[in-house]
Symmetry: C2
Subunit: 153 residues, 2 copies
Amino acid sequence: MSKDVTVDQMLSAFEAAGMRTTRPRRAMAEQLVAWGAKEKEFSSEDLWHAVQEKAPWVGRATAYRTVQLLQDLGFLDRVTFADGTERYHVVAAGHEHHHHLTCEMCHRIVPVEACIAPAAFEAMAQQSGFAISGHRLEIFGRCPDCQDDAHSC
Amino acid sequence: MSKDVTVDQMLSAFEAAGMRTTRPRRAMAEQLVAWGAKEKEFSSEDLWHAVQEKAPWVGRATAYRTVQLLQDLGFLDRVTFADGTERYHVVAAGHEHHHHLTCEMCHRIVPVEACIAPAAFEAMAQQSGFAISGHRLEIFGRCPDCQDDAHSC
DNA sequence: GCTGCTCTTGACACTAGGTATCATTTCGTG
DNA sequence: CACGAAATGATACCTAGTGTCAAGAGCAGC
Ligand SMILES: [Mn+2]
Ligand SMILES: [Mn+2]
Ligand SMILES: [Zn+2]
Ligand SMILES: [Zn+2]
């Protein structure tokens, strides 16, 4: 019943895309699965550091390259936080279009279904003459656990 | 009839906020007015370079600090582009809440009024328990002039 | 199992886009 | 004009990456 992705699914996706199933890619996939898909958020740097524990020979550039590939393959979802940092989370199966409500204190992520109506995009394209190719929506706030903390400093 | 902001308005705003009307601030305000408020977009670096022509003694840190202040004072609006770069434009008077449709090729900016309904934010806050403090919406595409150019490279 | 071609890697240099520090300068009030 | 606070410019530093490239490692064909 769990929709959590497996290491093999990730490696198969590399293969299916004509890429190789290398040791760094396996090490990173293993770390991601170890963390679970429970909306755990991490930066590329975070993931690199974590992988270093088990596989200290993995280079930083490789970690960043692999995060990019995993995002392209649809295994990672990139989220922009209020402070401008970019982080990721593993997507569970059935990844429909969605946006995120994020905590500016602890970086917690809540997916939200709110979006702009297709008709509104149509109207914009019509009025401006633009060919619209994408959009980004991020909502910021404080999660229940972080609302008491007065330190916004 | 023009709602374009003047150098004096900017400097008065600094004064009103208890800040000084210094030479770098004047030089930067003059450059902004020279460019006009016609949705001309620029990065902090762009503005610094332009100011250098007339006032080569203005430091880079000062340029960045001043852009931040002008944004805080409501004279500049920050826009995030599809490639992740941050740029600004001078806001005309009567700055209502709005978002931007931007050209991923030439960085042209078109303001749009589309947004998420307040009720939707309410619902999100209710469901998640978050205290929502802000949001960001950016729409990307190609302007009429850039649609032929096949070079997405 | 070995060969060989290619993709991939890890090290490292480098970059964009800023921010922190701090001695020096300059506002602008009295 | 004098003086204290605010602001500045030079400089060093920083984060979050990307470009380069010789060396290493998958994997298809034998
Ligand atoms: Mn998501
Ligand atoms: Mn605007
Ligand atoms: Zn939180
Ligand atoms: Zn364009």
